[in-house]
Symmetry: C2
Subunit: 409 residues, 2 copies
């Protein structure tokens, strides 16, 4: 008897998940051996593999790490280190302890656990327009109703947020990427944070502050966090990640939680997977604890700053005259732009890979409302050196030229 899987699968899995368009673009790039401006991941030549290898060796001296780790929130030493680091950077209230830190398999797992904890079918949440598509995927899976609020160069637009909150009824949370946002590159100023937090309090909702790019600031003054600004208000959950500043492949991120939520989220973790590998958490802690972190981060920043500048210059020089407009961010990995005469960037992205072997991400996927952003485009400079930037920009210019001419015929 043939099995009709539709009868077995939940609606959220059968109907609401879909293959990642970013994944498709990255696979196409690989198949066509194209130059890639696609991946929001750090550059392999900047991985601190030698030092990390030594830390793994030391972890192997701790056989207890190979058992089930007794603390389901993750390695105590690393959680303590993170709590101290956040407080030292002014990102957390002085009261933060390791009890409120939950280690995650990358930030995405934090997003997943929060989606499970907060979103019941039909619940309203606020997301930025544009925002990170894998967060949209996870929230959509849980049945979220999206309220999109635009961001400008200073972050969420408070007037737009207030209009939405005033009309929406109860809102579970506001999901915001505060530094060098993916994809826009915009950073929320502290002034804006105060306004948004005041609105969150007035309308009794929660802020999820996703902050993977904070330490990759190339110029300008660092901004604070919602998590610290809220103090002991307990209204903010902070998501951090080591994927962009150490390596993504060991999959370590964290959540900093209001004390009232810490036990519940740990119980949820147990129901999802018992615990995560303490071995990698220990190796990461060992790597971090004796490091001159300001020096280490400064080296990373120098490398990415040059890449940002090279790609921005190449794209402006080659593609600006053809109608490409780009924003240059103060940090992070992304240039965000538009080509106003391109009405379907997904089609153009496939065309550019096929015809000129140049890959980038069509911006439409960053919008909860899929009618928005049809002419937008995201470039990642993280893995692109100067030569690649120039050659890629030339290819993109050729693709724009031939695509426009095909459109006009």
């Amino acid at each position: 008897m043939q099995i009709h899987w539709d009868r077995f699968l939940t609606e959220k899995v059968a109907k609401r998940l879909e293959p990642s368009l970013i994944g498709e673009m990255m696979m196409l790039v690989k198949e066509r051996e194209a130059i890639s401006f696609t991946a929001g991941e750090p550059s392999a030549d900047l991985y601190p593999l030698e030092e990390l290898g030594k830390s793994f060796e030391r972890a192997f001296g701790e056989p207890s790490l190979f058992a089930y780790y007794p603390h389901n929130g993750g390695l105590l030493e690393l959680r303590r280190w993170i709590a101290d680091w956040m407080k030292g950077d002014g990102l957390a209230p002085r009261s933060l302890t390791e009890e409120e830190i939950l280690l995650t398999n990358g930030s995405q797992e934090g997003i997943h656990l929060l989606a499970e904890a907060f979103i019941a079918e039909g619940d309203a949440i606020v997301v930025e327009s544009p925002t990170y598509p894998e967060a949209l995927l996870t929230f959509r899976r849980q049945g979220a109703r999206f309220l999109s609020v635009p961001v400008d160069r200073d972050g969420i637009v408070p007037e737009a947020l207030e209009r939405v909150l005033a009309e929406a009824g109860p809102v579970k949370f506001i999901y915001t990427i505060v530094n060098f946002q993916n994809p826009s590159g915009y950073t929320t100023t502290d002034e804006r944070k105060a306004q948004v937090l005041a609105l969150a309090r007035r309308y009794d909702t929660v802020i999820i502050e996703d902050d993977p790019y904070r330490h990759l600031r190339y110029e300008g003054a660092p901004q604070g966090s919602y998590f610290a600004l809220d103090g002991e208000g307990g209204r903010v959950i902070y998501l951090g990640s080591f994927s962009k500043i150490v390596v993504p492949g060991i999959r370590v991120g964290w959540m900093a939680l209001p004390p009232e939520l810490a036990d519940k989220m740990t119980e949820l973790r147990v129901s999802c997977e018992i615990s995560l590998p303490a071995l990698t958490q220990y190796a990461l802690w060992d790597f971090l604890k004796d490091r001159d972190l300001p020096h280490y981060l400064s080296t990373l920043r120098g490398a990415y700053r040059s890449r940002r500048d090279a790609l921005a210059e190449a794209l402006r020089g080659q593609c600006g005259p053809l109608g490409l407009e780009i924003d240059v961010p103060q940090g992070g990995f992304f240039l965000w732009g538009r080509i106003p005469w391109v009405k379907d960037m997904v089609a153009f992205a496939r065309y550019a890979i096929e015809e000129e072997r140049i890959g980038f991400i069509p911006g439409r996927i960053f919008f909860a409302d899929e009618t928005e952003g049809a002419d937008t485009i995201r470039f990642s400079f993280a893995k692109v050196d100067g030569d690649l930037a120039r050659e890629g920009a030339r290819r993109l210019a050729r693709a724009m030229t031939s695509y426009r001419s095909a459109l006009n015929n």
Copy 2:
């Protein structure tokens, strides 16, 4: 303004999760420095750390493992190795390929992903009585309605299963632990498998076959799997784990899926955490691929067989006369028993740790229906050598004696 978290949290997280009683018992054991018959985990002195360390070193020679791994189902080499291994052992149809293998963060993550995929609020599922409590936790979280079916020494009782299926209406799946079941130690015979699979087909439901202990058989003939028996019927999902035969702390398990489900489950994985650490998957593959696995497993089996025998003998000698009845399984980690005169084993377990510093797991938590199993008890022998077994049994006998005398006063 005080935050009322009840308004924000989903019912499944706010109301259906609870701290693990096994976790509580293990913590109590640690605090009281008690002898522990609690933990269903392998013995640290049997971890192959030296060889695994070399495999991790070799993994460090592969920098691509530190990036986001491009295949979200997990390391292709390990998935291929698992598919070949399962086929070689007769556990899978010849058509199985790595495409149908999804690596997981331990089997628990497989249970979680399946719960997400299959269980909508109020859906009926069949579970064994007794069964693994963390699976119950995850299924309950998703809103499952439990249909408990008893197991005997040959596995699920088909007559009882049929009565339940005939009355229940649509059932999403049957969750079964087929070898040396946790907690009962019972193994489903191939004859029973044929009967249960026939019922699953007749009533159009799915079988989730959880099999972490298969390779720890100490005597008797190995049994086949539902996954192979079903052939290309596509009605069975198999969960495997390296936690019991290599180490639990690196958190690697897998799911073998019907081909129609593989893509969907991978998309679900992306929404939960993008991917898992390819580094640990590579190290495990490197460890497995050149190993004389029959020899390696035979050494493990020899060690655990002695422990099983020592604990069974000690408990029978010391506690049998006081009313303890135990079953000795052909494999796995657990002795399952009853003390008919104990009406609240949870209370007795706390008493025994406090008064005599001996820990074990009250059996009640292994039943979906909490009125069942009040007098049952689970002992793990995996980490218990002969001396500990004898001393632990003496302590348990003292605890039984004083507890009974307190009950009678």
